[in-house]
Amino acid sequence: MEKVKQKDLILYSGLIILGLAAPYLFSAFKVQLTYLCVLIVLAMTWNLQGGEMGYNTFGNILFYGLGMYLTASVQVGMFFPLAEWTESGGEKTFVHTTAQYFQGIGVGLLVAAIIPTIIAGAIGYAILGLRGHYFAICTLGLGIAAGEIAGGIEIIGAGQGFTTPPFPAEIVDAEARGKFFYFLSFALLIGTFVFVRYIYSSRFRLILNAIRDNEDKAEAMGIQTMKYKIVGWMCSAFFCGLAGGIMGGLIGYIDSTDVAFDGREMGVFMVLMAILGGKGTLWGPVIGATLFHFFKEGLWTLILGWQYVALGVLIVVIVVYFPEGLMGWLREKYPERFGEVIDEKDRKAQVELK
């Protein structure tokens, strides 16, 4: 890993301090801040596929939903019979003690990280062999199929939904629940960022870029593209599963198509945020997710009922008129800041050519 520069160090420590102080500074917005962290994680992991590898997936929602169901199932199933829990709608028949709750969510998150990663590895060979739009449509189908199937399985609540264990009542501090989930998601965000930043400074990223730019050439150069594609997808699945697990605990209720495998919201959001910020950059998804979240929270309530229309229009506008995103636009404008050396003569010649 390359050495972290002094300027970056100040930036990172500033952001971390801001992140740690945020729930105290804006204590009314803890849930929103948790959402923001999860959205950034989802956008960054989507960017590994869509931006770096050139595989535009709609299927990362699969891992997110799986993580959500797995965390909740493990958290309940460790101590109580799962079928009875979902049948009664989790209505106070069984109560987790404080220790049980935290043990449960800890083990649940562990499972939610590992199993989606294994699944990504298992189906990766079949799915990642598809190219371009076939891959996009296939992953779209995968996400929706998962939602439909989860909606038919009785033990995880079927269509009626799955109530996740409520936060232990013994903790009297009213703020504790919000803080717990915020710091959990913030830790996940830091973990994801450090990991993605590490990828950005490694050879792995160059290989992913080579796959994006020309997969056949990359293969001809002796890179085992399939191996790297699967590993890339597994990395995404790991973090998406964790994000889903945290979200399930925060929302407190899991519905198969509206919360877990929510291709219509989360599944599109992660694509949109990454594109808005700029695909294939480290900071793009972070900025895109933050902007998008502020926009969403600010406008959603103003245009109540019309938010999906606004979302659809936003998708069309961003995709059609702004496909390079914010970072792409900045890069076009100030290429020097991005470390691109421009030969003045060359640029003049190109302008003349145009």
Partner: protein
């Protein structure tokens, strides 16, 4: 899992007939998708929502007291202009771009359509009553709604009409020329922009017909568009572009699959089975192609 179907042969006949009649309808939508995919090289995720919109147009005239079967004439006319407008507004900006852009842009259009239909027509499941009655076969053990037979008949009629139109008319020739080589067609004086708009309009009109037929045979709901998109996509990749008999056959195959999945797995897994089949078909196709050492562009 319920294997009742294998114990009662009449149930099997029932499922097969239902599936085939339904499949013909799917094939009509898939034909529209193949047309725009072949000519403009875009994949329209909003295809299913155009279908549902067409259905709601037929349902509206039914509410006005006109027989919903007239929808198969009125709906395509309105939908043609909807498609034309949609092309001029958005689609013309994504035609030459990356395919993912067109997928995402039409996904956005689909969301807008769903929500607008939800506002205008409400979130209830509706159906237009055609009052055609039912036909009983084999000692009343197989019931077949006449509306399904009617819809299959109309689908075939329109498909034949469209094939003849594409062969004989000037616009049809221009569309086929553009599909073969857009640049050459442009050089030879074809107004490709107009051809694209017309193609998208014809596709929307086909969706309108299918929607009107769905409004009398099945049910309408603002959010059920996506399964129709996926079904047509599936039929097109199995049949290939521009192969009408294959589109018809694979449409019927899909209809059969769905009816049997419905009986065997249960209705709650029906849509899930459709999407899973899509994944399986794509994966099968990927292994078949990789064995040939070919790749998709």
């Amino acid at each position: 899992m319920d294997f009742l179907i294998f114990k009662a042969p009449m149930l099997m006949v029932q499922a097969s007939l239902d599936g085939i009649l339904l499949g013909i309808l799917f094939a009509l939508i898939a034909y529209g998708m193949a047309l725009q995919w072949g000519v403009m090289n875009i994949i329209n995720i909003a295809q299913g929502d155009l279908v549902i919109l067409g259905g709601y147009i037929a349902y509206t005239i039914y509410l006005w007291g006109i027989h919903p079967a007239w929808g198969v004439i009125i709906s395509p006319i309105i939908m043609f202009f909807v498609g034309w407008g949609l092309y001029k507004l958005v689609i013309n900006k994504v035609v030459d771009r990356d395919l993912f852009i067109s997928i995402l842009a039409t996904f956005g259009i689909a969301i807008v359509f769903q929500q607008l239909m939800n506002f205008i027509f409400g979130a209830d499941v509706v159906v237009a009553q055609s009052e055609y009655g039912t036909t009983m076969l084999f000692d009343n053990s197989v019931t077949l709604p006449n509306s399904k037979i009617f819809s299959a008949f109309i689908s075939v009629l329109y498909a034949i009409a469209l094939v003849i139109y594409m062969r004989k008319s000037k616009l049809g020739r221009a569309i086929r020329a553009t599909a073969q080589n857009a640049r050459a067609a442009k050089i030879l004086g074809v107004d490709t922009e107009k051809v694209y708009a017309a193609t998208f309009g014809i596709n929307a009109a086909l969706c309108g017909i299918a929607g009107a037929l769905i409004s009398i045979t099945l049910t309408l709901h603002p959010y059920v568009g996506l399964p129709y998109t996926v079904r047509s996509f599936m039929i097109v990749i199995v049949a290939g572009l521009g192969n009408l008999p294959a589109v018809a056959v694979s449409g019927m195959g899909l209809g059969l699959f769905e009816e049997f999945a419905d009986y065997i797995l249960g209705t709650e897994f029906r849509i899930g089975a459709v999407f899973l089949l899509l994944v399986l078909i794509l994966v099968y196709r990927r292994f078949k192609l990789s064995r040939k050492r070919e790749y998709l562009k």
